[in-house]
């Protein structure tokens, strides 16, 4: 299982959970499961987010998630 940390205002789509556990080996699988279990997250994820695994922003959705990894969803990061 992978624990995905969400920002607080998403908890209204996850029955109040700030951390959602999913069965996933890759980023893509984790995001897919999140939407399957909590459909309200779909528009948020489709709108663009950044995924951070163990402190590293991971843009590649095929990236493997190692057991015990710390996964955070963040607003899409951009710069100037």
């Amino acid at each position: 299982m992978v624990a995905v940390h969400l920002w607080s205002s998403l908890t209204r789509f996850t029955d109040g959970a700030r951390v959602v556990e999913v069965e996933a080996a890759t980023v893509a699988e984790a995001l897919k499961q999140l939407v399957e279990t909590h459909p309200g997250l779909g528009p948020i994820l489709d709108g663009g987010i950044s995924v951070v695994i163990d402190g590293e922003m991971v843009p590649n959705r095929h990236t493997a998630i190692e057991p015990g990894a710390e996964v955070y969803l963040m607003q899409r990061l951009k710069g100037g």
């Binding site: 205002s9 922003m57 990061l77 951009k78 710069g79």
Partner: protein
């Protein structure tokens, strides 16, 4: 100072001449407005004089009657049915039913001369029905504010929020109330910053050509040619690959040239004028009225502090307006504002709010300077109240590798403590100050960014190398990439030419934004050089009749890796390249990825000011920037980035602001009234490059372009309080506002 001092480089870390220097000082460099084409027309844009108005009708007949006027376009010439950000871009390019801000484009015209196009634009009759408008973010978030666009809120906004709130976020951890209860001092303050413009010297300029067959070309001043392609083709309903976009040299961008403004208009005019190229060059007034300023912000911050300097809890609520479209960088502001501090209890709330202003664009560390202004100002005030040294307080709470960031994920290798220690050791902090003089300190943070990156490298017949990159050079990336490539190949800096190429030459590249060019294109160039080296070793091995694995690359030559590989004299890159046509053909390398391994960057600024109590004018006496670069590939450019960030931050702090009249019209759309700092306003800005190499980059690069604009806003506010005892909570801290604060204090 570097952590990996055992690594030695021949070229990385040196300061060779800039590859673009001669072109720029002789006027040979070609900027956006320098591009022309045979048969070219000139475009001019009709802009709304109203902050908010329904467009009743547009009558171009008088303009079209002029001899030499070839085309007029309105929204009717653009496809319907776009959604999301594509619709936002199209609506901002040219208004549909309503003009949403002063300066919003409503029509455009192409004619055979610039003067004729401008005259024709004046003759296009637009009838407006003026609507109520709202400018200030605190007014715009009120439930009864004029509604900019119903239904614009995304899924993040809960039911029942005011109609102009289009994005909402909250995040944090711990128990902030319990944290405040632990503190010896809890303070809460409100702060405001006004919208400021990136202030690039070169106005937007482009030359667009589009035929009836849907094939087009564009020459444009931009930070990202692929973004121009993607956005223009989306707005016009074209296939992306049919538009070829070539970037010009660029006279500053700072984030403001990562999007589109009038570029689709030039293409639409060209298509309507039978495929003739159409050139549009914005005036300064158009740049200020209609291109991306940053957001304005209204911020509440509450912090708990112990007498020993420990931060026990922190809470921030930020409201930002980014114009008439979603996109104010309130998320980035919240992520960055507490990032320097190791916090157990922290909460963030953010609102992205619409107002009748131009669509904001990215501006150097988008959002971070505003957030720093609020948090670093309050921390300074609290340090004064508890008589704590502000630098020691920052050192006590500073994040380090492995700590959880205030926004959640743990930090990798970072150099905040090293940066604060270097600040502490700097002689500027020992200089005694006189009457009405004060010293201010503040820290700042930026993530840095990677992004889609594609680089190609080709070895020439004489053993020199060309590198094709897709990231326009706005801060020295060509020099830095040449240094890293030359270091890797073992050849001279002058033997590498780095070219910024058009969209047909490489895979997709994100713009030069997020301080990413030297990190991402540089990393890709090093990997590409590695591929070329591998191939050159293979060719040498074939010549020598040994296995490729038995060959190594040393000082620009292939050589046997050990005595078992046989005795062969080194084969230089020039020797290998000179006969590549007879040994298998061209030798090149390329790399495409979204490079991982981004390294975040912290900075600390110290400013000494003198405030004239009679006029309220603040003079910058001395200014120090200390920042972690990871590795400074070309230190002179790094210093330039530090100084440039500080200079822009000083302008933001002291003078710059979008000023609107009661009709919502921008009252200062020229540099005479919108006052950016000039050289005579500033002392030489001192810099210290801290080097804590980023392990995610082959040469340790973090990216240096953005962090430097983050601390100046609070550092100067803190210095003003130190000088004359007034706390400025609303930018800019112009002579008038400082004088008013002094008078109010009595």
């Amino acid at each position: 100072m570097a952590k990996d001092e055992f690594r030695e480089f021949k070229l990385v870390g040196t300061r060779p001449d800039r590859p673009d220097g001669l072109d720029k000082v002789t006027g040979r460099a070609r900027y956006g407005a320098d591009i022309s084409a045979p048969g070219m027309l000139w475009g001019a844009v009709v802009r709304s004089p109203h902050a908010h108005a329904r467009i009743v009708s547009i009558d171009p007949s008088k303009a079209l009657a002029l001899d030499g006027v070839k085309a007029v376009v309105t929204r009717a010439d653009f496809p319907e049915g776009l959604t999301g950000e594509d619709w936002n871009l199209q609506e901002n390019t040219i208004a549909g039913e309503r003009a949403l801000y002063d300066g919003h484009a409503v029509a455009a015209v192409a004619a055979t001369s610039k003067l004729l196009a401008e005259e024709a634009a004046r003759l296009i009759a637009v009838e407006y029905e003026v609507l109520p408008h709202v400018i200030d973010v605190d007014d715009a978030i009120k439930p009864d504010a004029p509604v900019i666009r119903a239904g614009a809120a995304d899924a993040s906004v809960p039911e029942g929020m005011p109609p102009n709130v289009v994005r909402y976020m909250d995040f944090g951890r711990g128990d902030v109330e319990a944290g405040f209860a632990e503190a010896d001092l809890v303070m809460e303050r409100s702060y405001k910053t006004e919208a400021t413009h990136q202030g690039y010297i070169e106005p937007h300029a482009c030359l667009g050509q589009l035929g009836a067959d849907g094939k087009g070309e564009m020459w444009v001043c931009t930070q990202g040619q692929w973004y121009i392609r993607k956005m223009c083709t989306a707005v016009l309903g074209l296939d992306a690959s049919q538009l070829r976009v070539t970037p010009s040299e660029i006279g500053g961008g700072f984030g403001g040239k990562t999007t589109i403004f009038m570029e689709p208009l030039s293409l639409a005019l060209s298509r309507k004028a039978g495929g003739k190229p159409v050139k549009i060059v914005m005036s300064r007034s158009e740049v200020l009225r209609a291109t991306g300023p940053t957001a304005s912000a209204s911020m509440d911050v509450k912090i708990g502090l112990k007498k020993d300097g420990t931060i026990t809890a922190a809470r921030a609520e930020f409201r930002m307006q980014g114009g008439a479209f979603p996109g104010a960088p309130v998320d980035m502001a919240l992520y960055c504002c507490f990032a320097p501090y190791n916090l157990t209890n922290v909460a963030h709330v953010g609102y992205d709010v619409l107002a009748n202003r131009p669509k904001c664009a990215a501006y150097r560390a988008p959002g971070s300077p505003m957030g720093a202004f609020a948090v670093e100002s309050l921390l300074d005030e609290m340090c004064r109240a508890l008589k704590i040294d502000p630098l020691q307080m920052r050192l006590k709470n500073a994040v380090k590798e492995g700590d959880k960031s205030s926004y959640g994920p743990r930090f990798g290798s970072i150099g905040l403590i090293e940066t604060l220690e270097a600040t502490q050791a700097h002689p500027n902090l020992s200089i005694k100050l006189g009457p009405n003089q004060g010293r201010g300190i503040a820290a700042g943070y930026w993530f840095n960014h990677n992004g889609e990156t594609s680089v190609s490298l080709a070895i020439s017949e004489d053993g020199t190398a060309q590198v094709s990159v897709g990231t326009p050079d706005i801060g020295g990336s060509r020099a830095s990439i040449a240094l890293m490539t030359a270091e890797t190949l073992g050849i001279g800096y002058e033997d590498v030419r780095v070219n910024v190429v058009e969209t047909g030459a490489l895979g997709v590249n994100e713009p030069t934004h997020g301080s990413r060019a030297t990190f991402a294109s540089g990393k890709a160039a090093v990997i590409a050089a590695g591929h070329a080296i591998k191939e050159m070793c293979r060719r040498a091995a074939t010549e020598w009749g040994i296995e490729p694995e038995a060959v190594e690359w040393v000082n620009g030559a292939a050589q046997p890796a050990g005595p078992n590989a046989g005795k062969h004299p080194p084969m230089t890159i020039a020797e290998i390249a000179g006969k590549m046509g007879q040994t298998g053909g061209p030798i090149s390398g390329h790399h495409e990825s979204v490079p991982e391994g981004v390294g975040a960057s912290f900075g600390c600024h110290v400013v000494d000011v003198e405030v004239d109590p009679e006029t309220g004018r603040t003079t910058i006496l001395r200014y120090l920037v200390v920042q972690d670069a990871g590795r400074a590939i070309h230190p002179a450019y790094v210093e330039g980035q530090y100084q440039g960030g500080a200079a822009q931050g000083i302008g933001w702090a002291l003078n710059e602001a979008y000023i609107y009249d009661d009709k919502g019209r921008l009252a200062n759309p020229v540099f005479l009234d919108y006052r950016i700092p000039v050289a005579s306003d500033l002392p030489m800005i001192d810099t210290v490059i801290v080097e804590v190499p980023n392990p995610g980059h082959p040469y340790g690069v973090r990216g240096v372009g953005e962090t430097g604009i983050t601390p100046p806003l609070p550092a100067i506010a803190n210095a003003i309080e130190d000088a004359v005892g007034v706390r400025m909570a609303h930018l800019p801290m112009s002579p008038a506002t400082v004088l008013a604060a002094l008078k109010a204090r009595g």
